[in-house]
Structure formats: structure tokens, C-alpha cells
């Protein structure tokens, strides 16, 4: 599903963000990407979602060579991905239902199907009773559920989660990981989760890739956070 082969990334300011990273993630895998600030985690996300192109090497997602993708093809490619952010990025003036529906509307999904799909997705993340609530009326955990619902509304093949529990207390963080595991299990969605949360990585053990200074320093199938 995701293949990185000898990927180097040097930004215009001369920063070497990635130095020869190679890894393969299969369809349906749940993978943590850990590492200190500046280790290259965010660069991997940006390469996968097509925001950046590798300086050298291959980035392939769902059979698409992302680095060589033409600009005009990037939006269509992104419909294969869902992204969840640490700060939720919800539209405050829209209800829960409208926030989820928004992701479907802007890719021109037919109205009736889009509304049905938005309702189903909200139910999947346990927000059926909050459809008409606005983000400010929800807890942090609930807001992140909305963000997840929006990210999976288009039924993406890959779900990228950038520190999804960073703003949540441990109990809410656990609920979110449980939800992501459920999505991974039920829809076979590949999940790539960037995190600093040692507790989560150790309690919900999954394949864990550790980065440091742009190098891949460990790739443990058994998971767990090693200092």
C-alpha cells in the first residue's frame, strides 16, 4: 500500500529532513511513526499526502508514484487519503453533520448519497446523538471523533493521523485509539499514526517505526516505545 524506497528529502533552506528512508506498509496495517521533533515524521506525512516531492527516491501509495504526480492529479490522488490533525481543524460555524458532509460535498459526491454516508460515518464514530451540535459544544475527544469521521467519510484507503491524541487526556486518547483500531479492523483501512504518546504506543502495541534525524532507526513489528 505504502512504499518508500531510499527516500531523501532536502528542503530549500538546506535542511536534510529524510536520509535514505525505505519502508513498506501493507494494506490494512496499523503503524505508529515515532521520533523526536525534527526527526522527519511530518516530512513523511507531507510526502505521502503529496504536499512535498522527494529530493531522491520513490514514494508510492496505492500504486501511485506520488513524487511524479502532476499537480492537476494531486486532488484526485488525495481522495485515497484521510488526514486527522492534532488540533482537529473543524469548521466552527458548521454542525457535526455539516463538517462531515463538507468533505463529501467538496469532492462532488451526489447529495443524497453524501448525506447518507455522513450519517453512517457519524454513527460509526459514536456521534449519532450529536449531529446538530457545533464543535464548541463538544469535548476534545468528541471533536477528534468528528475529525476522524470527516477523514474517513470518503472511505480512504489510507488514514494518516498526525498526533491525534496530542490535545487529549489519557482516557480520551485511549477512546480515540480504540476508535482508530475499530476503523482499521472493520474497513481494513491502512492507518499511519504519528505520535509522541509513549503510553499509547506501549499499551496498544502495533508495528512501530522510529525516526531520528531523518534516519529510520528501528522498525519493530511487535511495537512498543524504546528510548
Amino acid at each position: 500500500m505504502i512504499i518508500l524506497k531510499q527516500v531523501f528529502k532536502t528542503y530549500k533552506n538546506g535542511t536534510n529532513a529524510l536520509n535514505g528512508i525505505s519502508l513498506t506498509i501493507e494494506q490494512g496495517e496499523f503503524v505508529y511513526v515515532i521520533g523526536p521533533t525534527g526527526s522527519g515524521k511530518s516530512t513523511i506525512i507531507r510526502l505521502i499526502n503529496g504536499e512535498e516531492v522527494p529530493t531522491k527516491g520513490l514514494v508510492e501509495v496505492a500504486g501511485v508514484n506520488v513524487g511524479r504526480l502532476r499537480h492537476s492529479k494531486v486532488p484526485l490522488y488525495r481522495r485515497n487519503l484521510g488526514v486527522v490533525f492534532q488540533d482537529f481543524k473543524l469548521l466552527e460555524q458548521k454542525t457535526v453533520f455539516e463538517n462531515v458532509l463538507f468533505a463529501l460535498e467538496v469532492v462532488n459526491a451526489p447529495t443524497i448519497e453524501a448525506r447518507k454516508r455522513a450519517r453512517e460515518t457519524c454513527a460509526l464514530v459514536g456521534l449519532s446523538d450529536k449531529l446538530n451540535s457545533y464543535p464548541h459544544q463538544l469535548s476534545g475527544g468528541q471533536q477528534q471523533r468528528v475529525a476522524i469521521a470527516r477523514a474517513i467519510a470518503n472511505q480512504p484507503k489510507v488514514l494518516i493521523c498526525d498526533e491525534p491524541t496530542g490535545n487529549l487526556d489519557p482516557a480520551k486518547a485511549k477512546e480515540i485509539i480504540d476508535l482508530l483500531e475499530k476503523i482499521n479492523r472493520e474497513s481494513n483501512t491502512t492507518i499511519l499514526m504519528v505520535t509522541h504518546a509513549q503510553g499509547i504506543v506501549n499499551s496498544h502495541r502495533r508495528r512501530t517505526i522510529a525516526l531520528s534525524d531523518g534516519y529510520l532507526v528501528s522498525d519493530l513489528a511487535a511495537g512498543g516505545y524504546k528510548e
Binding site: 486532488p75 490522488y77 488525495r78 467538496v106 469532492v107 462532488n108 447529495t111 470527516r150 470518503n154
Partner: protein, 299 residues
């Protein structure tokens, strides 16, 4: 179609979100368009006046009595017609001249009837039509220098001066329109810039979930179009009603019957459509500038 309605809805939301900027952009369009309308009215009327004047600015050339034989008169006609700026030269006999004189005196003209025949003291003449009213003076000088010409007279110099005044007014309005148009474009571009900035989160989410760049840009272009549309309503109304009122009040003429004003129908419809298109064009151009700068295609 559903997509277009969505874009228009989003454009309205954007306009309402920055009501103050929207209103200032609309006001600028309104003022600009008032002058555009004025410019169009003046331009088309000047064109009509010029057309009327061109047919009436003639030079009256009196033939010297010692050159009244057929050969000399014909030769003079050929020389006049050969001059630059002369469209036509029509010979007028002494009798024709007397007729014209009698006619110009109206009811009292008949007293000149006694001069008809051998006693006619008038001169043979050529009525010279010129190509461009502005050249009347130089053409008259050239004719005066020809052999066999006794005198040259022309009316219409005032008319030419008036036309030149109107032309200057038109050019002044033109410069005003260009300046105001630039301000309108600048204000619209700024309104759209604010709109784009306030929707930063929405735009980033749209990009993340795979909305195309065209889809992201279109509502902002519609915003510009709507600013133009709303800005054009008042000036189109004022110009149309104002022109019809002026036409009726002035009896369809400007100062003299020679300057017949362009009939308001269908003229005013054309002017209105032109104003609407210009307003929407300026709106689209302003928003296009902002969209091009702040929503540049990136990955």
C-alpha cells in the same frame, strides 16, 4: 448545476462576512460605472453630432466676376476638388444663389425676386463639403489662394469648437473612468483577499480531502462577479432614467436641432448591457488577481 448553486451560495456567504469591504467595493463600482455610463452616452451622442455636422460644415466659395466664363469656372471646380480634405464641390449658379438667399429670408425673401435675370448682383459659387470639420480653416485658406476666387466664407466654426469641447469632456471622463476602474479593481482584490484569508481553514480542509483547485477558486471569482453585479444596479438605473428624462426635457436635441440626441430606445438597453458587462468584468478581474496571487496552485 448543483455545483454552481453551491459556489454562488458560498460567494454570498463570503460577501456577507466582510460586509464593510464588500460595500466599499460595491460603492466604488457604482461611482466608476456612473462615469462609464456618462462616457458611453457622451461618446455615442458626439458620434451622432459629428455625423450631422460633417454634412453641414460647408465652405462657400464666391467666383471672381472676371472668371465667370465656363472654362474658368470648370477649371476652378477641378482645382478645388483636387485639394486635400475636400469631399465634394458643387457648382451653384447665380440663380441658385438667389434662390438660397430668398429661402434664407423666409416670407420676406420675395422682395429679392426683382434681382432675377440680368440684374442679379450675386456671384457664381461653389459649395465645398469637407472630409473633417476640424480641417475647415486650412481648406478655406487653400481655396482662397486659388485663382478666380473672390471670397471664401464658412459657417460652423462654432460648431467645430463645440464638438472639440465635447471631445475634451469625453477624454476627461475617460481618464476618470480609467482611474476609478483601477481603484475598483484594487478594492475588489482586497475584499477577495480578506475572504480568502478568513477561509484559510476551509481551504486547507478542502485541499486535504481532495477538492480540485478550480472548485476552491470558483466561489471567490463569483464573489467578484457579484460585487460587479450589485455595483451596477444603481448606475444603470440612474443612467437609463436620467438619459430618458434628459431626452424628453430637451426635446430630443442638444441646443440646436442639428444636434439630435440618440433616441433612448434601444440605445439605453445597449448602454445598460455594456455597463453590466464592464462591471462584472472589473469584478472578475479584481477577484482573479487576488485568487491568482493567494490561491496559487500548489501541491
Amino acid at each position: 448545476m448543483r455545483r454552481i448553486f453551491r459556489h454562488i451560495k458560498e460567494a454570498f456567504i463570503g460577501l456577507l462576512r466582510h460586509l464593510a469591504m464588500t460595500l466599499s467595493s460595491i460603492s466604488t463600482i457604482t461611482i466608476t460605472l456612473l462615469f462609464v455610463g456618462l462616457f458611453l452616452l457622451i461618446t455615442f451622442n458626439i458620434e451622432q453630432f459629428t455625423y450631422a455636422v460633417e454634412g453641414s460644415v460647408n465652405i462657400h466659395v464666391k467666383v471672381d466676376p472676371s472668371f465667370e466664363d465656363d472654362a474658368s469656372v470648370n477649371s476652378l471646380g477641378v482645382k478645388i476638388r483636387a485639394l486635400n480634405g475636400v469631399r465634394a464641390a458643387t457648382f451653384s449658379s447665380k440663380d441658385n444663389e438667389l434662390d438660397a438667399m430668398i429661402e434664407s429670408f423666409g416670407e420676406n425673401g420675395s422682395i429679392f425676386e426683382s434681382y432675377r435675370g440680368e440684374d442679379n448682383p450675386l456671384r457664381m459659387a461653389y459649395l465645398v463639403e469637407i472630409v473633417d470639420g476640424a480641417d475647415i480653416e486650412s481648406v478655406a485658406v487653400s481655396i482662397r489662394e486659388l485663382e478666380g476666387v473672390e471670397a471664401v466664407a464658412y459657417g460652423g466654426i462654432r460648431v467645430v469648437e463645440l464638438l472639440s469641447l465635447l471631445e475634451n469632456t469625453r477624454q476627461f471622463v475617460y481618464i476618470l473612468v480609467a482611474g476609478l476602474g483601477l481603484i475598483a479593481v484594487f478594492l475588489i482584490a482586497n475584499t477577495i483577499k480578506l475572504s480568502i484569508a478568513s477561509r484559510g481553514l476551509e481551504i486547507s480542509i478542502m485541499r486535504t480531502v481532495g477538492a480540485t483547485n478550480g472548485f476552491i477558486r470558483t466561489p471567490f471569482l463569483f464573489e467578484g462577479l457579484l460585487i460587479g453585479l450589485f455595483g451596477s444596479i444603481l448606475p444603470i438605473g440612474l443612467i437609463a432614467i436620467g438619459y430618458i428624462w434628459m431626452f424628453d426635457t430637451m426635446g430630443g436635441q442638444f441646443i440646436t436641432p442639428m444636434f439630435a440626441l440618440v433616441n433612448p430606445f434601444p440605445f439605453i438597453y445597449y448602454v445598460s448591457v455594456a455597463m453590466l458587462l464592464i462591471a462584472m468584468g472589473v469584478g472578475l478581474f479584481g477577484s482573479g488577481l487576488s485568487v491568482g496571487k493567494h490561491l496559487r496552485w500548489k501541491r
